[in-house]
Amino acid sequence: MSEKKPERREFLFTASYAVGAVGVGAVVWPLIDQMNPDASVKALASTEVDVSSVKPGNTITVLWRGKPVFIRRRTKDEITEARSVKMEDLIHPEKDEDRAKNPEWLVMLGVCTHLGCVPLNDKGDYDGWFCPCHGSHYDTSGRIRKGPAPLNMEVPKYEFVNANTIKIG
Amino acid sequence: MKNIFKLFSIIVLFCFTTAQSNSAEKVDYLKTDWSFKGLFGKFDRGSLQRGYQVYTEVCASCHSMKYLSYRNLGEKGGPEFSEAETKAIAASFEVTDGPNADGEMFLRPAKLSDKFVMPYENVKAAQAANGGAYPPDMSVLVKARGGGVDYIYSLLQGYEEAPSGMALDDGVYYNKYMYGNKIKMAAPLSDGLIEYGDGTKATVEQMSKDVTTFLMWAAEPHLEARHQMGFKAIIYLIILTILVYFSMKKIWSRVESEV
């Protein structure tokens, strides 16, 4: 190691490995990335829904990016129930005010955060949703209250285009 | 040899217990003698033909059977209508074909190779016409329900007055064999609803049995061939097993250990 030549040889070997590894990485990446969502899948980014016919206490389900989205027109009681819950009782503390900007309308992905099943409406111990797969209970704000799911049902990006139309995505 | 039988019976026992546990949710369904059960089970041709009549005159107004073709009605192991009858059945339906030379779609009588005509254009249309509930496609319905033929047979006869205290919405009916007891389909059968071509009395029980038999065939059109081949295959395997067993004894007799 004290001599100069072996050191230079070491360096050459290391450099060869490093440059070679970069090349291998450059070839492998396209092969891995091809499995990610393609351009046509990404293009289905947003959808508009007419909610004028939804009565209070009813939920409609629409498909967005292959996943069901629950749009619930909540009753007074449900809103009161959702807003009176103490934060320390929640597994995943989120205020109902933050989840439903317009308290009458709750818009969220109808996908259980445990393993992705579709929870059932008006079921469970908290008057909200119940997942039939592994028994997670959600409240009237779609927040997880009991069961194996770790998080509240996700609220997607959405906006009211006008009083009767919601744009999701 | 004692070992292998012990092993064999353990495997058989295991298979059956798992099979049992998979078909959970035991309900006492109505029982009837199905001719297609058992090692030599075959369909009752008359029942299949009557069942087709029930399907086409009652069920087909709402329920599709999209995987069946008219030719199937004349094929071996099915209702076995004669070729003329099958062609006549097909011709009584109209299908959309085209486009023709002018680029337009047109209607023509169905041929043997055509699939069963669907009552609705698509699922949404079916839902719209039936208060939001989609009448399921009946091609594989028997296999898609836990209780199989016994479930369908019972369901058709399970309409009753709802017990007091059970609120039913409009267009919802009480059925004691339905999961949750609430069904969107009104009782489809009533005594004398149709007139059987062969003079059999069309009671609800008779029609339920016939149409269920027909649905079983629709879901498993090769059931008869399967039963026949199975019997031959198993007999063959047993003979070969016996031969191989004695060959094995012969070969192992040279060794001081035992098989």
Binding site: I32, M35, N36, P37, D38, V41, T61, L63, R65, K67, H114, L115, G116, C117, V118, C131, P132, C133, H134, G135, P148, A149, P150 | K2, N3, I4, L7, F8, I11, C15, T18, A19, S21, N22, Y67, N72, S139, V140, K143, A144, R145, G146, G148, A219, H222, R226, M229, G230, F231, I234, L237, L240, T241, V244, M248, I251, V255, E256, S257, E258
Partner: protein
């Protein structure tokens, strides 16, 4: 072994063999000295080879008719069942073949557990076996997705979502696996590709598995090292070939019974309903062979820990050779281990049953106890047992144990178990 001094008798054979020693290999395989006391639990290696070949052949023929597209997959399966010549037969063999494959592999694994076949010097055989088992589960899972029924779809959703339990990168991995924002057509096509690939990987590993077996030779019910070839061994052909063949035929009778008389009994009715992303079936249940692990997953209330527990339950098997501290291989000479072995068998069966039941109340409680015991068995009982257990004296050779040359209790008992 006699391989080294083997020369083909014909000139052509010798010429060929000098260039590619295939004949030497064939000679090794036929002459391979096998313990003469192997019982019928040892025939499942051959049965598993049969299962693999059956699955590959029926799978190739099904792939000629199947269409891997979300809109057409279900219909193409019905096309196979109705219109393709013998399509119903080939599909039912393939579908039930998967169950038969797992039945055989579980017997094979539990045989190893009973007779200590995973112990030195056979650790590599065992670990290759565990990898094969993992690949089998992957292949079976992806195969179940292909008919695109309700259970296919929701099974795929639940299982792929297991990866979302990984912190930080989990969601990204799931999206990558799906090729979209939910299980959909891109998921189906890639699952088909992988389902097609995996059996050939398994085939390659089976070759390694057998190769690794032929280095130390077979374990046997007495669990002692034998000199080979000797009075204790018989050549693989014809002795073991005919015995494996006989057992295989018995197995095929059971197989045939399922295919011809109860082809759908091991499946789930909901899978004859076409996949619908808007509706989850009331009970999502995996195929029976995955139920014990499913029960473990559900018995842990935390998402990440549940996934970790489920994976550990399988991977713990890979380190089993080092967890079992006992020098004695066969449970025949380990009176305490033998009892714990049967408790483990019962425990796994209970877990399987709980996996099929809804995860609530008493079922959940039992599943939790059974899960705890499963890990207790491997992590505490086995290591401690190796030090504490008083084992029975083992015979010097198979012949001694067979002929009852030694008067001790163990060999007499062993002799009984060897008798037919």
């Amino acid at each position: 072994m006699s391989d080294h001094d083997y020369t083909p008798s014909s000139k052509v054979g010798k010429w060929f063999n000098d260039r590619l020693p295939l004949l030497t290999l064939a000679n090794h395989l036929t002459d391979y000295p096998t313990p003469k006391n192997l019982n019928y639990w040892w025939t499942f290696g051959g049965i598993l080879t049969f299962c693999l070949i059956t699955q590959i052949v029926t799978g190739l023929t099904l792939a000629m008719h199947y269409i891997a597209h979300a809109d057409m997959a279900f219909e193409s399966v019905e096309h196979i069942m109705r219109d393709v010549n013998y399509g119903w037969l080939i599909r039912y063999i393939h579908a039930n073949g998967a169950s038969m494959f797992f039945l055989a592999v579980y017997i094979h694994i539990f045989r190893s557990l009973f007779y200590g076949s995973y112990k030195s010097p056979r650790e590599i055989i065992w670990i290759i076996g565990i990898i094969i088992y993992l690949l089998m589960m992957a292949a079976a899972f992806m195969g179940y997705v292909l008919p695109w029924g309700q259970m296919s779809f929701w099974g795929a959703t639940v299982i792929t979502n297991l990866f979302s339990a990984i912190p930080l990168v989990g969601e990204g991995i799931v999206t990558w696996l799906w090729g979209g924002y939910s299980v959909d057509n891109p998921t189906l096509t890639r699952f088909f590709t992988l389902h097609y690939l995996i059996p050939f990987l398994i085939l390659g590993l089976v070759v390694l598995h057998i190769w690794a077996l032929h280095v130390p030779g077979n374990n046997n019910p007495v669990g002692i090292d034998i000199k080979k070839p000797s009075k204790d061994t018989v050549p693989f052909h014809p002795y073991i070939v005919i015995k494996d063949g006989f057992a295989l035929l018995m197995f095929m009778i059971v197989f045939a019974f399922f295919v011809f008389y109860s082809p759908n009994i091991l499946g789930h009715a909901d899978n004859y309903i076409e996949a619908n992303p808007m509706v989850t079936p009331a009970h999502i249940v995996p195929e029976w062979y995955l139920l014990p692990f499913y029960a473990i997953l559900r018995s842990v209330p935390d998402k990440l820990l549940g996934v970790v527990a489920m994976l550990s339950a399988i991977l713990i098997l890979a380190v089993l050779p080092w967890l079992d501290t006992s020098k004695i291989r066969s449970a025949v000479f380990r009176p305490l281990y033998k009892q714990f072995y049967w408790i483990l068998v019962a425990d796994v069966l209970i877990l399987g049953y709980m996996g099929a039941m809804p995860a609530e109340g008493l079922y959940l409680l039992i599943a939790r106890v059974a899960t705890a015991y499963y890990f207790l068995h491997f992590l505490i009982i086995l290591p401690v047992l190796g030090f504490k257990e008083k084992t029975l004296p083992i015979p010097l050779s198979i012949t001694e144990s067979v002929l009852g040359g030694s008067p001790n209790l163990a060999t007499v008992k062993n002799k009984e178990s060897l008798e037919k």
